[in-house]
């Protein structure tokens, strides 16, 4: 080996040592840092284990913690179930309406129609008490309270329900199904189908009603016996004359004469219902109406007269179209003797109505024609009623109705009316 090569080797070794030494020193520093980190992690793990052990120890010291929590949860579930399915259920429903009426001959006025709360008290699927009050504000500011109906419904079986008490008249459809303002598609009742018209409004007695299949068709029925109506007379031109039929529920039967009646309907296809109704019995004049004031005073000594009602109705629903119609005739016989002896009288009315919901809108157009015949020519009325409704929801409706009334000139029956109404069913 030459001197030069020795020098080269030494130089090379010195260079290698110079390059490696800093790396070795750096590796030692990282190793130390990692060791310290592992020690820290081990310490933290020990701390966590200690904490866990303490928690477990505490849980063990409180016996039945989990069982207590489960029991509480079960109780909560049981409480919730109590709320869902008690034997007794209570429900407040009803409807109300407010509006503005502007007659052609007269001043326009804001008006409160009525507030009609309906109470439902039900015990399982056995019995229900249903009652509706009608609270109205009279033009002179007095609040009038009327019991619209109060009945106990005993659900005897799937086909028969016993209805006892005062109930809406099952004659036809309007009174029992359509009169609530959120259901009636116009702001007024068809002439003859309101109070003191051709159609009975309510009765007090016992009713059986229900439904049953009839081959491929469906059918429903109601039959009842009740106190029946009372009659009012007026003394005019030195003789008595029948003024009107108070065909609503009376708390006592003034003449002791009952009436029996009912309705039978078939549904030959989906959406179509056709019904017939009839009532027969006796009714007596119990009130004498003052010709000028309209006040009624009691009168005695009248004899019972024949009282007969016949009716027919239909309704048909097809997509956005709803068409219905109804006819009713109430006939009171003559009385040859008694304090209010007079000839008989007949009230009859019919209407047909079409309502069409404009597709993809909340707007509904309605048209109705009614012909009401009364024994008093001043009450005779033919009416076209046009309506445009906006359904904010399905039970909160803005209604605009215009009545074109045709009666004896100058009479109330001849006065056209514009009505705006807000109706809310709840």
């Amino acid at each position: 080996m030459t001197k030069t090569s020795k020098k080269l080797r030494l130089g090379f070794l010195a260079l290698a040592a110079g390059l490696l030494l800093p790396g070795i020193v750096l590796a030692d520093a990282e190793y130390d840092a990692l060791q310290a980190q592992v020690r820290d992690l081990a310490a933290q793990l020990e701390a966590v284990q200690r904490t866990l052990a303490q928690i477990e120890q505490k849980q063990e010291e409180i016996p039945g913690t989990q069982e207590t929590a489960i029991a509480a949860l079960k109780q909560d579930i049981a409480d919730a179930s109590e709320w869902r399915t008690p034997n007794s259920l209570i429900h407040l429903a009803g409807y109300t309406d407010v509006g503005y009426i502007n007659p052609e001959n007269g001043d326009g006025s804001f008006a409160v129609g009525s507030f009609s709360p309906i109470f439902h008290f039900q015990y399982r699927d056995i019995v229900m008490l249903e009652s509706e009050l009608e609270i109205e504000l009279s033009p002179d500011g007095e609040t009038e309270l009327t019991l619209e109906y109060l009945a106990i419904d005993y659900f005897l079986n799937d086909y028969v329900t016993v209805v006892a008490g005062s109930f809406l008249s099952p004659i036809g459809q309007f009174r029992q199904n359509l009169h609530p303002s959120w259901i009636n598609k116009l702001a007024s009742a068809p002439p003859g189908f309101g109070h003191d018209g051709a159609a009975p409004t309510s009765d007090l007695g016992l009713q059986l009603r229900g439904a049953f299949p009839l081959g491929e068709m469906r059918s429903n029925y109601s039959v009842y016996v009740s106190n029946g109506p009372e009659l009012n007379a007026v003394f005019e031109d030195d003789e008595f004359e029948l003024e009107g039929i108070a065909a609503e529920a009376f708390g006592a039967d003034a003449d002791g004469e009952k009436v029996v009646g009912g309705r039978f309907a078939i549904l030959p296809m989906a959406g179509l219902e056709i019904g017939v109704s009839a009532v027969t019995g006796k009714a007596t004049v119990t009130g004498l109406e003052d010709e000028d004031t309209g006040e009624v005073t009691e009168i005695e000594g009248a004899i019972a007269r024949d009282y007969d009602v016949v009716g027919a109705d239909f309704s048909w629903m097809w997509k956005n179209l709803n068409v219905r119609g109804e006819y009713v005739r109430s006939k009171v016989g003559e009385a040859l003797t008694g304090t209010t002896a007079s000839e008989g009288a007949t009230w009859k009315s019919w209407y047909t109505q079409a309502a069409w919901r404009i597709p993809a809108t909340k707007i509904e157009a309605v048209v109705r024609y009614t012909d009401f015949d009364s024994p008093h020519s001043s009450e005779d009325q033919q009416q076209w009623a046009l309506g445009l409704n906006y359904l904010i929801t399905n039970s909160f409706i803005v209604k605009g109705t215009y009545e074109l009334n045709d009666g004896i000139a100058g009479s109330r029956a001849d006065n056209d009316r514009l009505m705006l109404q807000l109706a809310y069913g709840f």
């Binding site: 359509l178 469906r218 219902e273 997509k319 597709p359 399905n394």
Partner: protein, 206 residues
Amino acid sequence: MFSRQSKQIFPAWVRYALLPALALSMFSVATAADYPQPGDLAKGSMLWAENCGRCHQVRNPQDLRDDQWITTAFPMSIRAGLTGGETRDILTFLQASNAVIPTAAVTVTSVTVATDAPVQSGKEIYTQTCVACHGADGKGALPGAPDFALASGPLAKSDDALTQSILYGYQSPGSPMPMPAKGGNPSLDESGVAAVLKYLRDTFSH
């Protein structure tokens, strides 16, 4: 039934009125352990659509709780002339349809419509769950129900959007009442939704 004395007390019409009632009571149905007994949901949706709208605008099932629907359905059955069985069917549908399912927490990001899914099952679902409101022709059987056959109708939307609408309910513009979640059928799952969606597109799309 009536003694000689009772005959003197009760007039003839009372006897004749009570006899059928007493006879009918012999056939009265015993009260179930719980009430009312569950009805048929599919029949209930049809009966609801066919009967309630005859008199009034059909109410949104979500308007009332389950117990409130009980006290509403029973008096309505008297007014509408329904049998007890029909009343229970409608009640079952209403109680199944009034649940509000929150959509905020769950979002369907993608759904694959099975190309070989059985058409019959989609048709069956449609017939049982959807037809009462949407009609056999898809043009809408109830006021407010949209027309599937319209080019701009609901089927113009994506499968994801329609699946969301079916699963969580949807209110069409101009309709005062929303479609209930799953059409009121709680047993409808995502595969059922996919099947019925395929049926809708196959049957009503242009």
